[in-house]
């Protein structure tokens, strides 16, 4: 090991060990804040969108989704596709859904004028309640009433976006029901069929595919829509832990499913605008974090500069007794690295031991998503490296400035 590194480390170790604990604590505290600023700000901004993405995947899309081809109304040959899924070992669970546009109308018995119609356009989704719940845990979205059971007939679950009292939306072209609650009788109209059903439960989610829809048993929807061909509209698939979605997707495509339907992993199906928003937020987070990094670098520069200025005499003595300038500079470099690593290590403990678990269990309630904190190990490692390098530069420059001054002037305090 070069002599100047050995002596630099020797001096740094003793200076840190015998420095004021308050000063050391304060510098490390600044480094912790900087680390958290670097990781948490961008992590939360990305997490705003990521929360929405994760919710969309877990509450609707699954690991893989099979959907109808662009020019088709349904997924043809659905029974064949379902039998392939049953034989695919990586597939853990799946849910097949029918979808049909329609209208739901409330308070039709009490209205006085025809113009006072209380109705909303909606997509009706026919599901097997047990299979749907196994894949998307739809029952957890119930905020009032109860979830469907397979034997339910003439009963629906209605998304909260369709009811004004749960989520008032004042937007042209978007209609909501005014006075509907669990137990209310409503009239649904799908194509030319009309049926009176009872609201069994109200669903609330920040995923529009859940909260803006009406759910009912698939058999009943088939009957109302007169769809007896068993051709569904989409199938969401949950894979077994450890399975690779891309590999399974490719296997499904090879099995011939792609002749009848689109097979997409979540990444394939993720809308481009969502990816763009994520990238934009990440960029914004990085910009804000960069300001934090510059502030931290200046702080470290000032701390090391003041430290070096107040120790100018001792730097002079070190040079006077023959310690090389590079060894002295190295001692300040090591001190800077020590502060950065201590701050990062404590920040890591706070991040992964406290913040992420807490925010995961108590997501931040944004109007369009449950915000989580995204901090990938690779991204965090990169930010720690950035912090250490910035701190090293900020520590080295003032040390070099002081070390380069005249030895005798430093010793005599001139």
């Amino acid at each position: 090991m070069p002599q100047f590194i050995r002596i630099g480390f020797y001096l740094a170790l003793r200076q840190v060990r015998r420095a004021s604990k308050w000063t050391t604590g304060l510098i490390i505290f600044v480094m912790i804040l900087t680390f958290l600023n670097l990781v948490v700000v961008s992590g939360l901004l990305v997490g705003l969108i990521e929360g929405s993405v994760v919710a969309y995947k877990s509450q609707y899309f699954g690991d893989i989704t099979i959907s109808k081809l662009n020019k088709k109304d349904y997924i043809e040959n659905t029974p064949m596709i379902l039998s392939i899924l049953d034989r695919t070992p990586e597939v853990s669970k799946y849910t097949a859904r029918y979808a049909q546009a329609g209208k739901v109308e409330a308070n039709y018995q009490s209205r006085v004028k025809q113009s006072e119609t209380d109705s909303a356009n909606a997509t009706f989704t026919g599901i097997d309640p047990e299979k749907e719940d196994a894949v998307t845990h739809l029952s957890r979205r119930i905020i009032e009433g109860e979830y469907l059971v397979p034997s339910d007939y003439d009963k629906i679950l209605i998304g909260s976006m369709l009811i004004k009292k749960y989520m008032p939306i004042d937007s042209p072209g978007f209609s909501q029901l005014n006075d509907v609650a669990v137990g209310s009788k409503v009239r649904i109209r799908i194509g030319s069929s009309t049926r009176e059903v009872i609201v069994k439960g109200v669903l609330k989610s920040k995923v529009d595919e859940v909260s803006a829809k009406v759910f009912m048993n698939d058999k009943e929807l088939q009957s109302i829509a007169n769809r007896q061909d068993y051709s569904v509209d989409n199938i969401s698939i949950l894979l077994k832990p450890g399975s690779d979605a891309v590999t399974v997707r490719d296997a499904l495509i090879r099995s011939g499913i792609s002749n009848y339907a689109k097979v997409q992993t979540f990444e394939d199906g993720e809308p481009k605008f969502l990816k763009d928003i994520k990238n934009t937020f990440a960029l914004l987070g990085n910009m804000i974090s960069s300001i934090g990094l510059v502030v931290a670098s200046i702080t470290i520069f000032i701390v090391i500069f003041i430290n070096a200025i107040t120790r100018r005499k001792f730097i002079g003595i070190l040079k006077g007794i023959g310690i090389s300038g590079r060894a002295i500079e190295m001692s300040y470099l090591f001190q800077s690295v020590f502060y950065a690593l201590c701050g990062s290590a404590t920040g890591l403990a706070i991040l992964y031991g406290l913040l992420i678990p807490y925010i995961n269990t108590h997501p931040i309630d944004f109007p369009f998503s449950d915000g989580i904190l995204v901090a990938t190990p690779a991204g965090t490692f990169w930010r720690i490296s950035l912090l250490v390098v910035a701190t090293m530069i900020a520590g080295y420059i003032p040390a070099r400035m002081i070390v380069r001054r005249n030895t005798l002037d430093a010793i005599l305090g001139r």
Partner: protein, 231 residues
Amino acid sequence: MIETKKLIKTYVDGNTITPVLKEVDFKAESGEFIAIMGRSGAGKSTFLYQLSLLDEPTGGEIIIDGQNVHDMTADEKTNFRLTELGYVFQDYALLPDLTACENVALPLLMQGKSKSEAYSIAKTALAKAGLGHRVDFLPNQLSGGEQQRVSISRAIAHKPKILFADEPTANLDNYSSGLVMDMFKELHKEGQTIIMVTHEPEYGRLAERLIRFDDGKIVGEELVDHGYLKN
């Protein structure tokens, strides 16, 4: 061993030019103990700074063991101070974060000695200075006299060719001054070359040659009857 030829040092501060050393010619042989005396502002400390390579002369030459130090780079001078010179400062100049042992061991570590070897030499030097029981003390836990003895131990631990001392007893009481000067006497007996600046005639006369400085020049020189060497 060490020689200066027409050594000049001039301080320039704006338009003010202050000549401090005026073409000083000086020579010291190996093993000599030389005391430099003179009134304040005579230039004796400045002379010592030039000899010990802590400062850059304005003109003239310094030759140590036949080598003209003018040709050395700053790094070479630092390394020369590390290996060939020792310096005892008036205010001890110990590093406050290092214990007595670490202060003494530091130049030895810089020379490339192992930690155990450097610490062993440092402890021996401190024990010789009567500080064997203080090796793990920080400077602020030592008295002035003890600090100066640590400083001397640090300056001699690596066996320098020349030991410089700038008023080593200026901040000490009589008892501590006596202990410090006893160390110098012992070192001189062992053959150490010493060049010491002092204000105190009593200690100046412990050297074998006494040089008087005034107005940036050597104005007198006398050999002292160094009786203690005969004992």
